[in-house]
Amino acid sequence: MRAQSKITIAVMAAFVSVAVAGCGNAHDAPAGGGQGAAPSEKLGASSSVRDLMKARGLNEADVEAALKTYVPSGKMDEYYIFASGGQSGNIDVIGVPSMRMLKVIAVFTPESWQGWGYGGESEKVLAAGNQGAHAIRWADVHHPNLSETNGDYDGQFLFVNDKANARVAVVDLADFTTKQIVPNTLAASDHGGAFVTPNTDYIVETTQYPAPLGRGYAPLDQYKDKYRGLAMFWRFDRKKGRIDVAKSFGMELPPYTQDLADAGKLGSDGWAFINSFNTEMATGGTLDGKPPIESGASQNDMDYLHIINWKKAAELVDAGRAKTINGVKVLTMDVTGPEGVLSLVGEPKSPHGCDVTPDGKQVVVGGKLDTHTTLYDFAKMKKLIEEKKFEGKDAYGLPILAFKDAINGQVEIGLGPLHTVFGDHGDAYTSVFIESTVAKWSYLDLKKPVEKLKVQYNIGHILSAEGDTVSPDGKYVVAMNKMSMDRFLPVGPLFPQNFQLIDISGDKMRLLYDAPIGNAEPHYSQMIKADKLKPLKVYPPGTVPSTGDLDPNRVEGGKERIVRKGNKVEVFMTLIRSHFTPDQLEVNEGDEVTLHLTSLETAEDQTHGFTIDMYNVNLSLEPGKHENVTFKADMPGVYPFYCTEFCSALHLEMTGYMLVKPRGG
């Protein structure tokens, strides 16, 4: 720390002296080298900087951090962060280095600004994610993953899992809109997702809490026999931009609690790795005097890292070796064990984090109750599997590799190392939960001293600029802290999370900025270079974003109409500044009303909203967008509808009436 402040002071001193010199010269020149201007004038801009620093209580390091993060009006951030929105069920998009929130992408949860889940076409996307008897209208979003080409982010798609309801969503970054929600019909919850293979052939989703596959029933005393984990490999059709459910497959796993997963890359392409805890298979039973799960699941010194050869697994599925459960092809353990597709290796107590190094050669695993990160050597593991050199088998007949033969070594990190992300030149950054630090170490030189930076507080996930690609940028790390405690203005007992931006471009890590996240508890995030994204600014006229297609009922200017057939009323309506056409709708109580709405706008950022009170209809119509909404006019009365976006000077005049005539009235 001391050395760090010295460097800072030196930098600041240089900055201030340059400013003083620059200013002094300007004043001195006309004076012909004489005594020059008065001292107060001579200080110029630097004096005002010093006054500001004094007035706001800032030191040199603060000023330097401000200079590194401030993005003036009209300039753009260098990176996007796509952050899991946690319990909000959505995705947060944040700019770096300013850490300004750019947008929330509506995914699993209704979002009223975007009109997501309030009667329009988005209902179809949301409904596709329903399982069982209830409409699911929230998610516990965990791990967003950007699509990759040759192991590098390509900026085309974003995938994210819902831990609570075992679902995966596809977001198209052409318009930042959710296109697909796929429920996992086999699993009861997931966690290790949505991780992509290096060319986005598959999106990996692994379960968290074991349950009978296919959501059947079995009592807890049949846990070992009937409960199972699952690794789902969702086939992604990049051309269509959708998951191809029919070409996807699952792999049965033992009822350990599988946790995080990562796909191999470069030399380890074709493989995937999943860590697990609770190999004790504890199920609690506290009222019966049994230990709670948290202690029952923490008895073994070793849990198991799962090593999966997914390319071979896909071949086995093609060869017809899979069973079908709930319509999904599943490779069972009696196939995957003997075929060398699924193997295990010990990993120290209560592991967390499972991250493949950028060169694809090692897998880094942390331990919630261990002080090390463990580095597994892919080449060694592959050789052991090929030569069938196993230490033994688990209760399900899966081969177990000898821990000592599979690893390259361990690095003493501190209390509770969780996730690891990467910089350039072999730098690794691990979140250390219990001691609230970021640990910087080298996966190329395990003897290199570990550097620590305190963060505030309880860091969970961690992310770095393009940090899990084959070529991390080595510029920024963000500590995603679970607690903010004393960092922000108090807002009641539910505290914001704290995203702390860290500069890793120098020799030492430097904390730059604290950004409060006040809408949920995010989990993983990814950071992508901004110039890789080229989003649309307006839609081709008549587009339904959730499908990307032109709607057959899109409305052209001048062709607005109301068509009545029996008790079905279809309204073909357009929106353009500052009017709806038509602006008077008369229907009868009990009519089924369908509105086809097309925005005729072609100018950027000219969005209109549409809402009808009491009917829970609320839509956002960006330029060119089309929406269809159907409802039963079951409440007679007078319903003004209006535009909810302040679109123009006559925005308040952008309104109309829907009259629902009472029956027999």
């Binding site: 353009i576 500044r577 072609t602 100018a603 000077a649 006559l650 005049e653």
Partner: protein, 232 residues
Amino acid sequence: MTARDGHVHLSVVSAKPAWDWARWLVVALGVGGATLFVLALFQRWWGIWLYAPQYPGGLRIEIALTGMSGDVKEIDLLNHYIGMGHLEDAAPLERRLAAYGVAAIVAVSIALILATGKRLNGLVAVPALAFPVVFLADSFYWMYSFGHDLNPRAPLKIGTFTPQLFGNGKIGQFETYAEPQLGFWLAVAGVALIVLAAVVRWRVCAHCGRASTCGLVCPKLMVLPEHEARRA
């Protein structure tokens, strides 16, 4: 025919008459000018830019003889607030006839260059000169009529106006800027070539052996050989 040495040369069929090369120059200038007119038909003639705070990149209308391009839709949309008509309804006849008009000007100019007798030399460049002038006058007429024919029931009443055809202007919150584009300059260059053709032609006629017998029509059709002309 009096050359610079003061001698009188008789026109002889076999001999190469003085200024013969210039006859071809006249034709070349005329064809060149006409070609530029044809090219101009496919280019934008006028650009108008509108700037307001909510349009940081500005809005732009580009006017060609056959129609308008650019942010016409957005400008029309804004114009409805002040009760202005749709720009796409402007000059329908002119736009439809533009190609025929250009063809006519080209044909008439070439015909005049080839066939006009000495006494009508002054008319050779007139149709060409009229081309950009008519365009400007017509544009002004439409600008004026759009700015003065505002719907009285428009939400915003700003009073009648004529948008600036040159340089800076202001309409509502918009700063405007207008200037000619490539098409207009091609037409101007075409006019210059045809005027030059007329000037050279005047000199050619002055040196022409048949100047004395020349009436309303050039007996040589400018470049026909003597015997051909004689037969004609």
